[in-house]
């Protein structure tokens, strides 16, 4: 794809209008860290770009009693510096912090990560773990979809042509409820996840886990919400045996591939280790929030 036409709409309505009404392939751009690289690889096919970064609401966030409402194009560097968000959603901030280098974080956004819909995207399991929802807007109006239902395949999601992601919405976690995200890479930085795990747990005052969500990444065509792993945690004190059970459930749920980043066997094992470790981090945070 070679960019032949660049548009920078000032409003969502203008952007939606631009998404339909062209016979050239049209893509929205947030940070562009995936799109620009993709556009270089197949230089022949023409591409029309709609840059969303000039739309104020796409770049902003709000956090109140209702929770987090995030403009999907805010860059990760800005997002990870939001201390109020980090207090409540440390796992999501961790995931955003892991995307690429400092330089990449200066451009890349959570919305872009979500819409690029890579199986290895770091923020997707983290968003699923905290029950995040996508508000999608198009010519036909608005709709809201849970993140676990948003991504439908490798590089594919439920958005129809002419639609765009307008907002990412997350409920405010109660005291006793916190998240964590861990991924595994061969180096310490600059790699794509071999496997990832996003966890949120809710503890009551006795330390009993009353709710949990376990999401795993890079071990299937899409990030998976693993109910069986959460079930292994709910009703327990998140003791070693229960956590091990959750890890085993996550490994069992994984259906990874072998590629240049890892083998089936290794990914299956690693995702269990990550679930175990991330659960313990989430547990500690949840206890501290009580």
């Amino acid at each position: 794809m070679a960019v032949v036409d660049y548009n920078a709409p000032q409003s969502v309505q203008e952007a939606v209008a631009l998404l339909s009404g062209s016979d050239i392939k049209t893509k929205v751009m947030a940070g562009g860290t995936d799109l620009i690289i993709q556009s270089k690889s197949q230089a022949v096919e023409p591409l029309r770009v709609v840059d969303l970064k000039h739309i104020a609401e796409m770049m902003s966030y709000s956090l109140d009693d209702g929770g987090l409402s995030l403009g999907p194009c805010m860059c990760c560097a800005e997002f990870t510096a939001l201390h109020d968000v980090e207090t409540l959603y440390p796992g999501l901030v961790e995931a955003a912090y892991l995307i690429g280098s400092t330089q990449v974080q200066g451009r890349a956004s959570i919305g872009g990560n979500l819409c690029n819909s890579s199986p290895a995207a770091d923020t997707i399991p983290a968003l699923i773990a905290i029950g995040a929802k996508c508000r999608i807007v198009g010519a036909g109006g608005e709709r809201t979809v849970a993140v676990e239902d948003f991504v439908t395949g490798v590089g594919r999601n439920c958005m129809q042509s002419g639609e765009l992601l307008q907002r990412i919405l997350v409920a405010r976690p109660a005291p006793g409820s916190r998240d964590a995200y861990l991924r595994f890479i061969p180096r310490t930085e600059m790699d794509i996840a071999v496997a990832g795990a996003g966890i949120s747990v809710t503890l009551d005052s006795q330390g009993v886990c009353t709710a949990a969500r376990v999401a795993i990444g890079a071990v299937a065509q899409t990030a998976l919400l693993v109910a069986s792993a959460a079930d292994a945690l709910i009703g327990t004190q998140l003791d070693d045996a229960s956590v091990a059970k959750a890890a085993a459930a996550a490994s069992a749920a994984a259906s990874p591939i072998t590629d240049r980043r890892g083998t089936i066997e290794f990914r299956r094992h690693i995702v269990g280790v990550l679930v175990k470790r991330a659960t313990l981090i989430a547990k500690e945070r949840a206890q501290a929030s009580l």
């Binding site: 032949v4 562009g32 690289i37 770009v49 330089q103 451009r107």
Partner: protein, 159 residues
């Protein structure tokens, strides 16, 4: 393909250029503006040799379209140090022999400046993680990290 007329500011200087929509900011800087201090090592955001700032935020010029520079403030290596003086960071890189071939150095200087603006007193680990996107194949990073920490200490002392 019609070229687009872009008005921007580079290192504080009002600048205009013409570019095609597919050109990256890196292409524009290097080929259209002859500002070759910003280097290209990979074209995919993996090496950091083209580190620049856009509205003060560190990024890779190869991950930005040239047209996106419109109305922004771009910072490049050419804006650091003067014709006969160096910034503290540049001086420390030389003093610590923190470069061998030097191809990664402009990017590292730009990134280090961004680091120290954000965090004037980084730990060794913080410096290493912040700069993980700036690949250097010659030095093994030891002297780079020493230069960065020494520059930070010197700048704190001067402030």
């Amino acid at each position: 393909m019609a070229k687009l007329h872009i008005t921007t500011s580079i290192n504080g200087e009002a600048t205009e250029f013409l570019c095609e929509p597919h050109e990256t900011l890196l292409d524009v800087l290097r080929n259209d503006l002859q500002m070759t201090g910003t280097k290209e090592g990979c074209g995919s955001g993996d090496c950091g040799a083209c580190s620049v700032t856009v509205d003060g935020r560190l990024t890779c010029a190869c991950l930005v379209l040239g047209v996106e520079a419109a109305g922004r403030e771009i910072g490049t290596i050419e804006g650091i140090g003067g014709s006969d003086k160096l910034s503290v960071i540049q001086e420390k890189f030389l003093e610590h022999a923190a470069l061998q071939c030097g191809i990664c150095t402009p990017g590292l200087v730009v990134s280090t400046q961004a680091l120290l603006e954000q965090n004037p007193n980084p730990t060794e680990a913080e410096a290493r993680y912040f700069l993980a996107g700036n690949l250097c194949r010659c030095t093994g990073y030891d002297k780079i990290i020493r230069a960065v920490l020494d520059a930070a200490a010197t700048m704190r002392g001067a402030a």
